[in-house]
Symmetry: D2
């Protein structure tokens, strides 16, 4: 870490700051320039809060030389991480396609959709069971029973399953779940992340609506610091002033993340755009810029299932999209 | 709720939608116009998701006549809610001043600050104990021991205490806490909100960095729907492109909220701006636009306490600010 | 346009509003419902300001049935517009590749780059001549002389040229320019747009950093309303809280615009990301989601040309990218 | 300016960069540290583009010691600038109140409003004449005739006038205008700013919807660099995800700007919020945080004047607000 001190910093102030760094076990290299002092702070600076230091009265600027995340950092782990789930692998160069309904609604529904997405080429089955809903009066999901049905459907067609957790207390219900998802609203629920660091299952972390790419990596670091290195990142749109789409799909996050981390990155065009007719072009764009996979909402009866209609594809639309996805994947390989 | 259907909507499509509403126990009033159909949906529409309905292929636009929050809605509860905490009252027209350090660090520290803020006129003592930190490697707070010290300090000077909770599992440690705070990052941690709906203590909910004012009210509704009507709202800045301040302090939220809800509203200029020299002017602005109170960071030894220095006031600065706050409060009363 | 009136609207208030619409030459169809009044406003409502009407005290909600742009609207012009420039065509299904340096710096520089991009497969030559610079002390471009050199280079390799205009007074210098570009900062410089509506040349309008997709269309409408229907739209990133990229590249704008308008849409990954290593993946993503073309910065001596180094590709990088672009284009065709 | 170079920077690369700075007439002080090289660049660095330098491959970080604006910088001009307009002074410690209609509509209208705002205590008369409208089909203002009527009304009640310019070609019509306003959409219309740098009248620059505080200062610098040092800044809301208000009123910009510049700062709660009931509380907040003045929309017949109704105050509301404004101003003085 480099800290450039202001000209006006007094000797005692400088000394105080240097001692504070040394107290933290760091070595400080002082370079007195003609019109400023530059401190080079050497050692494990991951615990330091750059923002805080930068706001100190005597500090002109501060810059990390090494990023505050270690386990997730590609610098210390140049090889891509690939994560094995049953017979599927995420991050090995092949595309992972997680498809399924927004919510598990019934045995029939999830069975029908599971068969359809498997036939079309999906590699994992997704479905909401514990649902984060803005309104306390809205349907909160089938919860434990939903997981049971999802698992049963996944098993019957031979697809691993992925579903979202909202609270560490629910972990007991997630035993049969193959990948545990952390939703955008819980990306900085640090207590949940800590608990998932103790679990021996892959964790898929969705980027928060107002979270930077670096904050997403810090959330991955929370899980990894606990001992669980099987983390998958997911870009699903950020909140901006534009209202033509539900969120603004920040696809540049894919190549940015590829450079910073060795973890697999998937993208979710269904939630990012909120509109089913935008899902196909944005899925292709996600593949083209290098994502390791896609998460796509598919339902069988949009005209009956009001709740997840607008952003879901019909099975036949999904099948047509899969054919195009494969072509684009080949084109960039 | 009013739904305007598209011209192209077929009779069976309309019928299907109307039946769907009726199935939900709602009454639908159909108005066939020259070039469109308007549905008036009557009954308890709080469970309906406007966004979802608006995205349906046959729907041109949809608008709630009544807001999706009931308990928090000023329409159904025109009087201001005031919340009693020991001998302090929040929302009764007097200003509530919650002051104290970012983090409780030691018995000495919190005692010294408690005395100082009490002497300057604060009405509550705040202090972080369970800390939400972006980095897993950063100090996570004194936790239960911090609450014990905060309580002890509050008791000794006669101030109620407020501190943040991060997980419902920690509730056992919060027995002596007067007001439980939900941080910005947990504003949509719905499982936590549900648990706090069962608690018999005031809950202070901070607005999320990317949350709209309406979403803040929906989070209040989660707590109130559980039976706990003692909710205090807090504006603490939203995330925008501007980097001159840590967040963008959205003070207009105060009069907007005053119109929509009967709940008390306080503002936090310390976290919103992230810079101590901006805290005084923005505190005065908060009072001037009608906030019920302020949450202000105060520490005694900024030169020792690196972690909360930049945005904290020294006791003497806080005292000087209190005098100005009182003048502005009188001017608008 | 549909206006839903509030329950509390009095008869005289309603009558006043209806008369106001009629005064504007519109027909109003009143539908009195059980608990509200809905006005259907028929006629040319493009001059009405929905925001203003929606903020009236007696109006609950207002919604356009038809968009406020007419000439740019795909509804009234279902076929794609394609624009011919010399022997290049934009919007005919083939990709348009506009490549060249950020700024024209010298005869040598622009000649060398022109040859390189032509050889690699570019279809147009771009280069800044009148430069919009944040600082009054920064290099403001070679201006008229820059256009002369750009034209000479374009002619010598057989590529049409595109460069940015900042003021209608400079139009005299743009006689030899094939496509006139309006920069992001001037997207709502309405006086400039009006002047360009009188010009018989294609106009390329870049989306403003804080402009919605609909506002971009309204700016196109300004030019078209003046009689010039040769408009090309360009997505080049919007301003958000994320700082990992210079702007946030809103690629979803491509399929959204394809639905709303018949005008060609190109994307500019160089300005959107601000980093040369992100240009290749985001170019491929742009092609994959359906853009009609790309605008890419290429320079020959990045180590000498400090000003446009960071986001520019070297000729050999551009050549390698072109090969990949062609593959992705084939994959989606 | 301080540039920290990356460890991997080679000696020739460093030398090349140093020479480039020296070529610009700057002195470079090299400090070779144990694990990095820090360049201190001394001299007039206002022409350098920090962003560009920061993106160079060999540069780790770059930070200005001095800001890129000189004339607007408080560091070089510690005293507040106050601007005299007829018998009014802006920035001398007294509040400036610019009030009037959104648009000048008729002689009667502007006369009636001028009398009302003068009687209530306004110190300047505002009114739109050349109107920047999103739609080419909307009313574009009374233009030159509007200025004539505004001037006549101002003269008759003894108030200086302020109105917006959209194009330097219109300057001839602005001879009688006391303060020329640059609207938010033209804040980075650099050609217009340059032209206004040659004018001998105060220029009021509104912050762009997606412009940072520093960019606003750079726009002021454009005018000042041309020789016109009479610049007034105006905060009028920025664009964010929140839709409860038209824009997000960034009042913290006032104390931030007070620190960075000596220029007067006014705020516009009418455009920032877009709702008349939010204008009074946010006006008081603006005064409380230290603004030099307010710009407030007032109209006489909101029920007739559909176009500027929603955000305008009636004369009697404005009068009541003035009384409260005076009290808050006294409280903070």
């Amino acid at each position: 870490m480099i800290a450039v001190l202001k000209k006006k910093a007094t000797e005692p102030q400088k000394q105080h700051l240097i001692e504070w760094f040394e107290m933290k076990g760091l070595k400080v290299h002082v370079s007195e320039g003609e019109f400023n002092t530059v401190l080079g702070i050497i050692g494990d600076t991951t615990e330091l809060d750059t923002d805080m230091i930068g706001l100190l009265d005597i500090v002109e600027s501060v810059k990390r030389i090494s990023e505050p995340y270690k386990s997730a950092n590609r610098q210390f782990h140049p090889e891509n991480t690939s994560i094995k789930v049953q017979n599927a692998v995420i991050g090995d160069g092949e595309l992972t396609i997680m498809a399924g309904p927004c919510s598990v609604e019934s045995e029939d529904q999830i069975m029908t959709i599971a068969k359809a997405v498997k036939a079309a080429g999906a590699t994992m089955l997704r479905g909401g069971t514990f649902k984060p809903r803005t309104s306390p009066y809205a349907f909160q999901g089938m919860r434990a029973e939903g997981i049971r049905l999802l698992k049963q459907a996944g098993d019957s067609v031979g697809l691993p399953i992925v579903t979202e957790i909202m609270n560490a207390d629910h972990l007991e219900y997630f035993e049969d779940v193959d990948i545990i998802q952390v939703g955008a609203r819980n990306m900085q629920n640090f207590e949940l992340l800590k608990a998932l660091g103790k679990v021996n299952k892959p964790i898929l972390i969705k980027r928060g609506m107002a979270s930077t790419i670096k904050e997403l990596l810090m959330s991955a670091e929370y899980v990894m610091a606990g001992g669980n290195e099987q983390v998958i990142l997911c870009e699903r749109g950020i909140r901006t002033f534009e209202t033509a789409t539900r969120n603004t799909f920040d696809l540049s996050a894919v190549p940015v993340l590829k450079k910073l981390t060795h973890l697999p990155i998937i993208v979710d065009p269904s939630h990012a755009t909120g509109k089913h007719d935008l899902v196909p072009p944005m899925s292709l764009a996600g593949v083209a810029c290098g994502a390791d996979g896609l998460m796509i909402e598919v339902h069988n009866q949009p005209e009956k299932a009001l709740s997840d209609g607008p952003q879901s594809l019909r099975p036949e639309e999904f099948e047509a999209l899969m054919a195009r996805i494969i072509k684009v994947k080949e084109a960039i390989s």
